[in-house]
């Protein structure tokens, strides 16, 4: 057990790519937590998708030990968090487990939308904040100007911001010293009280079963203890206790203020809910911790196994994955064309893609993802309201009085030069400007926008029109009535429900045209020509034709080619199985999401 005064728990937060994970690398390295030969860049980004995309998706906790200048050795628990908006829930949850934050700001970029958002969340969690200016090795770094910006825009003192290069290691000793001197130890904690621990996160390990990340508030957790999850009621005997360094390392006990893991042969994945309070089975505490604010999914889509026989595998995979991703929701769904599947909710399109990718890779299930949608409120003539998660469920129009759609309040930070592009983009997306202010040469624009215009590709568009210089954050801002219609897509004259979307009537032609053009690229040529149409209530508003395949034959095929050719055809045949058949047309899995991404 460690003295409270010698513990520091903190999260590393920043806008995407400002260098959180690289800073975590240096802290791990300088404290000798990981052997030099095992170090690699962004060590904590261990998932394949994280390494491929170069971003952090899951928050990661590591315990490091630091002998400070005052002669004492401190236990530091750092949590590296993701920067992308879609994973903001990971950040806010992580912050609830610690007392301080290192706010990393890229000294070449300055304050961005997520920098702001993270500061608000940190203040909300009563954090002490230490600003860190990163990437000062780069010639374009302007630490003085950025420090000023932090004070102007965020309103926190940046006079003693630490200047570092997470890449070269410059300034890292100062960061370690600041963690000890400027961040507080855990505020409370009494080893003699009954166990009170926060369930911060969990994941499923094929060998160990459910692994639970806990933050101890009071009491001491030991191997063999009988524990109780206060909300779900499950009781277990603790098998193993340890800390992440970042590999799992067993320890004898976890005391107040400490962060570590436990395993307890938890079979029922459902019994573990992040934000729950863990106490002892007997003589435990009465009132649980307040827990976390639930995350509110904003994009929904159907996930169906390509192979209908894999439905049960998909269910199991989804349950296990949800354990590791508290911001993802799911419920069973059936579709005439696709059979059994799940309607899932996500915090954004990247989140959706990541979950789908993880299900496919980690659990080996090929999936069809239907066109994503937001939740509409459909008010019926009879005075009732239905929540529409899936455009396919749109009731008969004669029964509908009006439809409301979710709107957001978007905050965009952008250099002056690109302001015009941003205003145009927001205007095109049916936005209403709420505010426009300047901080130096950067503008901060606030827009009220319909969520369905933003969710699919707004972030990509924003980055491309501003060459990556704009950043964006949003909050939900209620519902509002508008002229919304269901747009159907017909492929080879048959409606494909999984491609139906809700659109604003004024935007329907444009979106319809964009969708059929996209689908023309996405659906491979078949042996016959395929009309692709967008229609509203039976009236076609856009059409394209995929020409028939005219050439697909091997020029030379002799005795020596038989085996190779047969194997190739087998492989192609297997590839065909990855497409779902709609009428006589095979539509590739990727088409359902990609059809919604606009180029303009």
């Amino acid at each position: 057990m460690t003295e409270l005064s010698q513990i520091r728990n903190f999260s590393i937060v920043a806008h995407i790519d400002h260098g959180k994970s690289t800073l975590a690398d240096r802290l791990i390295q300088l404290t000798g937590t990981v052997a030099e030969r095992d170090m690699k860049e962004q060590l904590l980004d261990s998932m394949d998708i994280e390494r491929e995309r170069g971003i952090t998706i899951k928050a990661n906790t590591v315990r490091i030990e630091y002998p400070a200048k005052d002669g004492k050795t401190y236990v530091l628990n750092l949590i590296d968090t993701p920067g992308h908006v879609d994973f903001a829930y990971e950040v806010s949850r992580s912050m609830r487990a610690v007392e301080g934050s290192l706010l990393v700001v890229d000294a070449t970029q300055g304050v961005e939308a997520q920098t702001l958002a993270n500061v608000y969340t940190a203040l909300d969690a009563d954090h002490e904040i230490v600003p860190v200016l990163n990437k000062i090795d780069l010639p374009a770094a302007e630490p003085a100007r950025v420090a000023e910006q932090i004070e102007d825009v965020i309103g926190i003192d940046a006079s003693n911001a630490i200047q570092i290069s997470a890449k070269t290691g410059l300034g890292i000793p100062d960061v370690l010293e600041a963690i000890v001197t400027r961040l507080p130890p855990p505020h409370e904690g009494d080893a003699t009280k009954p166990l009170k621990a926060l369930l911060v996160d969990s994941y499923y390990d094929p060998y160990l079963g459910v692994v639970v990340l806990v933050r101890i508030i009071d009491g001491v957790l030991r191997k063999g203890d009988r524990i109780r999850m206060m909300r779900t009621g499950g009781t277990y005997g603790v098998d193993r206790i340890g800390v992440f360094r970042p590999a799992m390392q067993d320890i004898a006990e976890l005391g107040p203020g400490e962060i570590g893991f436990l395993t307890a042969s938890i079979k029922l994945v459902r019994d573990t809910r992040v934000g729950d309070t863990i106490t002892t089975e007997r003589k435990g505490i009465e009132t649980p911790l307040p827990g976390f604010k639930p995350s509110i999914p904003v994009v929904f889509c159907g996930l169906f196994p390509v192979d209908a026989n894999e439905f049960e595998d998909l269910r199991e995979a989804i349950e296990k994955l949800a354990l590791n991703d508290a911001s993802f929701t799911y419920e069973m769904e059936t579709s005439a064309a696709l059979g059994f599947g799940f309607r899932c909710g996500f915090l954004g399109l990247l989140h959706l893609e990541v979950v789908r990718d993880r299900l496919e890779r980690e659990y080996g299930i090929d999936l069809i993802t239907t066109a994503p949608s937001v939740i509409y409120h459909v008010y019926m003539r009879d005075g009732t309201m239905m929540e529409l998660h899936n455009p396919a469920d749109m009731p008969d129009l004669t029964l509908v009085d009006h439809i409301e759609e979710p709107r957001i309040r978007a905050t965009i930070l952008v250099p002056d030069d690109f302001l015009g592009d941003i205003l145009k983009l927001c205007q095109d997306r049916r936005g209403e400007q709420l505010d426009l202010t300047y901080a130096g040469s950067r503008a901060m624009v606030v827009y009220d926008l319909p969520l369905n215009e933003v969710v699919f590709d707004f972030y990509d568009r924003l980055k491309s029109v501003t060459k990556g210089y704009a950043s964006f954050d949003y909050q939900m801002a209620g519902y509002r009535e508008d002229y919304l219609v269901k747009m159907q897509i017909l492929v080879n004259d048959e409606p494909v429900d999984a491609l139906s979307t809700m659109v604003h009537r004024d935007r329907a032609e444009m979106r319809g045209r964009a969708m059929v053009e996209k689908l023309k690229e996405l659906i491979p040529r078949h042996m016959f020509k395929i009309p692709v149409q967008a229609a509203i209530g039976g009236r076609v508003i856009a059409r394209e034709t995929i020409a028939a395949l005219r050439k697909d034959v091997t020029a030379k095929c002799y005795g020596g080619d038989a085996t190779r050719k047969r194997k190739l055809l087998d492989k192609q045949k297997a590839g065909k199985k990855k497409m779902r058949q709609f009428g006589k047309v095979e539509i590739p899995q990727q088409a359902f999401i990609n059809a919604l991404k606009m180029d303009g």
């Binding site: 050439k551 697909d552 005795g559 038989a562 055809l569």
Partner: protein, 387 residues
């Protein structure tokens, strides 16, 4: 004894000669450039393999022998003679046994044609590839159009049957260019032509260039389809209709050896990288040999067996092979034979759909791809293969 399936196709020998003077940039065949070649060692290996396979098959009539490569016209005529002599000593041979040798149309090769004829070669297939010097250079060929024409003339006066190969759908080749060139080829009055659309094979020099976007002016699929259609029409009009996707012949002048492949007969594959299909003890075996010339040679010398482990083809695999080979032929395939091989029915619904699209014809127990169907044969086969 009831007839075995392979007899519907016949029995032939494929002899692979793996050496060339240089490597063409489009070629992914098992061909190698070697400084010296020990002809005596190769002769020992080929003869030993022929005898070994002869022991395995027992007596059965050999219909065809095919020397392929690589560049078999680099083989010494004596070596070819020794091989054919051993073949005759090992199996009964058909009276009209077809013996084809692939030859590159250089002047040196042409000098050996008489020797090949005396050794027993009855047919040559010349790798002319183009009738235009600029394109021959781009294809990395060592010969000129004039040399090719001269070699062709020598071949015509030496062998009863001569065929040549052209590669089309080349970089920057317009339909008019190709039609003119094809007209010239037809005027040379060969009785057989192999007309291949240029295929960009991964792992070749062209493959690399293509991947880096440096191979410009190749026709897209639609233009390639137009070239293919024009080729069918022009050749048919000139009396050399297609009898297979890329092969055209005056009726009766088809390559009998290649017909064995497409009619799914048996063939022994001898030499590095050669594949075979042999029915032995009631089972159809797929045979393969070591790819590298030196390993094959060493393995034959040391173990007396120039093969990698063979595999038995199950009914489904055999049916798939018969389908993908047989549909290449204009004559098509026998549905009854297909279903006997695969022990399952061909899907009548799928056949009907493809007929509806004008890609397939099903008549009197014969399934054949139409000209349009042959252009998209891979898609047709994918559709027909059972799930």
């Amino acid at each position: 004894m009831t007839a075995e399936d392979w007899q519907a196709g016949g029995f032939g020998l494929y002899i692979h000669w793996p050496f060339c003077l240089s490597k063409c940039p489009y070629c992914d065949f098992n061909s190698h450039v070697a400084a010296t070649i020990d002809m005596a060692a190769w002769q020992r290996a080929y003869l030993s393999e022929i005898r070994r396979i002869g022991t395995e098959t027992g007596p059965r009539t050999v219909n065809t022998v095919f020397f392929g490569g690589g560049t078999p016209s680099l083989m010494a005529p004596d070596l070819v003679a020794a091989i054919l002599e051993t073949v005759r000593a090992t199996w009964p041979c058909a009276n009209d046994m077809e013996v084809t040798l692939e030859a590159n149309p250089g002047s040196v090769e042409a000098g050996r044609f008489r020797g090949y004829r005396d050794a027993g070669v009855t047919r040559v297939s010349l790798g002319v590839q183009a009738l235009n010097d600029a394109d021959l250079r781009r294809l990395g060929r060592l010969h000129s159009t004039a040399e090719a024409r001269a070699a062709f003339d020598v071949a015509r006066s030496t062998f009863e049957r001569v065929s040549f190969d052209l590669i089309y759908a080349r970089q920057g080749q317009t339909p008019a260019d190709w039609q003119a060139e094809l007209g010239e080829a037809l005027a040379m009055a060969a009785d057989h032509l192999s007309l291949y659309q240029l295929t960009i094979e991964p792992g070749t020099a062209f493959g690399d260039r293509h991947a880096r976007g440096l191979l410009r002016g190749l026709p897209d699929d639609d233009r390639a389809a137009d070239l293919f259609t024009a080729t069918q029409e022009i050749c048919a009009a000139a009396g050399l209709p297609a009898y297979e996707v890329s092969n055209h012949a005056r009726p009766g002048a088809e390559s009998r050896h290649n017909m064995i492949y497409w009619r799914y007969g048996d063939y022994a594959g001898i030499g590095p990288g050669a594949h075979g299909r042999l029915t032995l003890g009631g089972q159809r075996w797929a045979t393969e040999t070591p790819l590298s010339p030196s390993s094959w040679l060493a393995q034959v010398a040391q173990t007396g067996r120039g093969e990698t482990p063979r595999t038995v083809l199950n009914p489904r695999e055999q049916a798939a092979e018969y389908l993908l080979m047989g549909l290449r032929l204009v004559e098509g395939l026998s549905v009854a034979r297909y279903e006997r091989l695969g022990q399952e029915q061909i899907d009548p619904g799928k056949v009907a759909d493809l007929e509806q699209l004008g890609l397939l014809e099903h008549h009197a127990g014969i399934l054949r791809a139409t000209a349009a169907g042959r252009a998209v044969l891979n898609a047709v086969i994918r559709e027909l293969l059972p799930d």
